[in-house]
Amino acid sequence: MKDFNPDIRPQGSFRFGTVNRPLDEDEEYDLDNVCVLQDLSKSRMTQRQLKDLYGEEIRAYASGNGIQKPVEECKRCWRLHYADEVNFHLDTLPCVPEEQHVIDRIVQLGSSEDLARRCVAITDQRHPQYDEISQNWLSSNPRGFAAWFEGRCRLGRTRMSLNEGARASVEDVPPYEWKTTLQRSVQVLKRHRDVMFKNHTEFAPISMIITNLAGHAYNGEGDLFEAISNIVARMPDFVRANAPFVPNPADYAEDYADKWKTDSRYEENFWRWHSAVSADLSRIPDWLRGTTLNQRLMSTFEVSVPSSMLPKPRPSILVKSPAIVIPTASKPWGQ
């Protein structure tokens, strides 16, 4: 593998700096990385051969590092299960750089050259030419997406706080250590999704869709509540009416919502989540006025805020329902 000049980088929420603690203590964190074999081309081996070769390396790494659970093969990646102080698994994706004509096609679809050039060709067990030498592999651009998302984060303040409390500019630290408003917003939105779909995980909107749409909808707001409210309000503008519903800005042919084509429940539940989070956000000012803030935060985000941090409930008139008149209505029935 070394001969192919591998370039390994983190991907997904760890790269973006939008990781959330799992709802349940028993659940695992999801890590992703991408391994680009820079000196390998599609004409040298089949997708299966690349996948298997990489798999051998991963297995060797696993046994060399005392990882008990066997390495698991997934459709596009290999999965390593770590059990340490924190439970997590790592999905590692082998790929090769894409060819220039593919990059050109991506630029034609609307992406910038700088994003498009990071595109890679990936293996997929479902691909019809999985076992053939072919130029025809699936394309993906996770690194281009990450670069785009980082650009959107930068729209916010260039100064933000780090763990140590010192202030620095975005250029001094790697993106996953930033704590920009956009990243925080994505974390809050994902958490809301986690709690809402706790018992219905199958059709829950996926994190890539939320991250993508939040990235588009964010406009540099500094205040967290303002940012989340505006993001949620503008999100629908960036969902297309047909496939690709939620394209990767670094490759418009890559649709993060490709499952929406196969089963409308995915899209239905996205809009349900959107309605629910919009409603919850608009109710927060009322929660702040009343005495149920802690209970609401628990039921909506499953977080418990120490009472010292909560605003004092203001002595206020009880918020009443608007008065209505019902001059006439249906007569109730019964069987």
Binding site: M196, F197, N199, H200, E202, F203, A204, P236, D237, V239, R240, A241, N242, F245, W260, S264, R265, E267, E268, N269, W271, R272, W273, S275, A276, S278, A279, S282, R283, D286, K320, S321, P322, A323, I324, V325, I326, P327, T328, A329, S330, K331, P332, W333, G334, Q335
Partner: protein, 248 residues
């Protein structure tokens, strides 16, 4: 905003956002089928036709099926405040109104917000009035078939019709044919010289096929009810009881 997907259009027509804004105590619950489920507290501060003011709240669960032409929305009051003998279907579902009336409204609009404000809130207001003052502010329908007939008499403005379901049949026919038949109000005149105006108006809004299906549904209900009545009559004769009509 540009063109939207069919799924989004359908979601927007349900007016979930409007419902959640009007009723801040309600929450949307995800489902793995295509039904829409909302749960939580409904609040209202309402004055009815007799002037009674009720400021109250109830815990409910609301389930809207994907195809409301085939299934009705279902509503439950989840704290056991409303007793099972108060206008309820089996399994404690609230009987908000005549099913025909509910289906009529759903033909006009799939908005859940409208459904709640038009059917659920008045029903709950009605129960509060009944609980606190012993009166039913909007009246009430009888149970079963007779209750539906009462609603149909109102709908077609024909209080004298013994079998107002015949209006459903007539509305399912073409105007020319229907007008030649006897008016169900029992005036002795044919429809064309009697209640034709209202039948024509309703036919225009809901269409013949809708009325055909409603009439079929009514017939099915009538068969079921007559089966039940026969069973009760048999049981009574076995027990040596007088077989007077069980519904007065």
């Amino acid at each position: 905003m540009g063109p939207v997907s069919l799924t989004l259009r359908r979601h927007s027509a349900l007016q979930i956002d409007e419902l959640l804004a009007e009723q801040p105590g309600l929450r949307l619950v995800p489902t793995s089928d295509r039904t829409t489920v909302v749960e939580g507290v409904v609040c209202f501060n309402a004055t009815g036709p007799t002037g009674i003011v009720i400021d109250d709240k109830y815990s409910i669960k609301l389930r809207i099926p994907f195809d409301t032409s085939k299934e009705l929305p279902e509503v439950w009051e989840t704290e056991g405040r409303i007793p099972s003998d108060f206008h309820k279907l089996d399994a404690n579902k609230l009987c908000l109104a005549s099913p025909i009336k509910i289906r009529m409204r759903l033909v006009e609009s799939s908005s859940v917000a409208k459904f709640v404000s038009e059917f659920v809130v008045p029903y709950l207001y009605g129960y509060s009035c009944f609980e606190q003052h012993g009166e039913m502010p909007f009246g009430e329908l009888s149970h079963g078939l007779e209750g539906i007939r009462e609603h149909l008499r109102e709908m077609f403005k024909a209080e004298t019709a013994e079998f107002p379901e015949l209006f459903l049949k007539l509305a399912s026919l073409q105007k020319r044919r229907a007008n030649k038949l006897a008016c169900p109000c029992q005036s002795g005149r044919r429809l064309g010289k009697c209640h034709n105006r209202i039948v024509n108006a309703q036919r225009k809004v809901y269409e013949r096929t809708w009325f055909k299906n409603e009439f079929k549904r009514f017939e099915i209900l009538r068969e079921e009810e007559s089966k039940q009545l026969n069973q009760v009559a048999k049981l009574k004769s076995l027990l040596g009881m007088p077989s007077a009509s069980i519904r007065q």
